[in-house]
Symmetry: C2
Subunit: 142 residues, 2 copies
C-alpha cells in the first residue's frame, strides 16, 4: 500500500504542537485471536483504518514477541503519522490490548479524525470493557 507524500508539519495558522492524545485499555477482547497475534495483519488493517479517517501514515513498524508457555506472543504495531503516532500493544494470553492515538492539530483540527480512529480500533477488538482517556497536549502558551 503506498504511503502519502509527506507534508510539512507546521502552519502559520495553527500552533503545530497543540494536539490530542487518546488512550484506551481493552479487556477481555472477543475478536479472533489472530488480531492479537498476527502483527502484519493487524498492522495493515490499522494503516487502512488510519487512512480511512483521513490521517496520513508516513512510516510503520510492527513487532512480534516470542511465544510464552501461555501461547502465541503479543504484538506491537506502531504507525508514524504526519500528525504524530498510533501505537497498539496486545496481550493475547489476557485478551488485552492498549491503544494510543496521538494527533497534533497543525493546519487543521484533527481531533475528530482521532476520535473516529479510536472508535474503529476499539471496535476491531470487541472488548468486554475499556478504560479510555483523553489528554490535551502541547497547548501551553509556548
Amino acid at each position: 500500500m503506498p504511503f502519502v507524500v509527506d507534508q510539512p508539519r507546521s502552519s502559520s495558522k495553527v500552533r503545530g504542537m497543540q494536539g490530542l492524545h487518546l488512550t484506551a485499555d481493552l479487556y477481555r477482547c472477543r475478536c479472533d485471536t489472530e488480531w492479537l497475534t498476527d502483527a502484519l495483519k493487524l498492522g495493515d488493517w490499522c494503516v487502512q483504518a488510519i487512512e480511512a479517517v483521513g490521517l496520513q501514515p508516513v512510516d510503520r513498524l510492527f513487532h512480534t514477541f516470542p511465544a510464552t508457555p501461555a501461547g502465541a506472543g503479543g504484538v506491537t504495531a506502531t504507525v508514524l503519522l504526519a500528525e504524530s503516532h498510533v501505537c497498539l500493544h496486545t496481550w493475547p494470553e489476557q485478551k488485552g490490548v492498549t491503544l494510543d492515538v496521538y494527533v497534533c492539530n497543525f493546519g487543521e483540527d484533527h481531533s475528530a479524525k482521532a476520535r473516529g480512529l479510536m472508535f474503529a480500533l476499539v471496535n476491531r477488538f470487541q472488548p468486554e470493557w475499556t478504560e479510555q482517556r483523553s489528554l490535551d497536549r502541547g497547548d501551553s502558551d509556548a
Copy 2:
C-alpha cells in the same frame, strides 16, 4: 549498537498488561537545535538512554519531516521496547518536544526505570518549562 535478545513479555508473577505511561510536553527547549532536527543523532542517543536505565529496545523507527519556511523539519523517534514503547516528536520552529515513555510491569515493576528515563529525556532538551502526566494503564481486574 546490538539490541538485546527478545524476552517473552509475560510472567505468571505479574499481570503483563499493567503498566505506567508517562507523558511530557516541553516548551522553549534550550538545547542545540540538532537535537530537534537530527533524527539519527536523537534516536541513537535515545536508545542509549533507554539501555542505560535497564529497559530493553527491540526495534526502532526514526522519521524526519520536510523543512518548512520556518526552517528544518521536526523528527519523530520511536523505540519499541520489550516493556512497551518510547516516542519523541520535535517541533524545532517552536523549540518544542513531546515525549511518551510507556512501560508494562511484566516480570518486575519497571516504573522506576520509566521515571529515570523520562528525567534523562527531559534534561536532554533543557526546556524552560514542561507539562508532565502519569497514567496508570491496564490495571483493571481483567
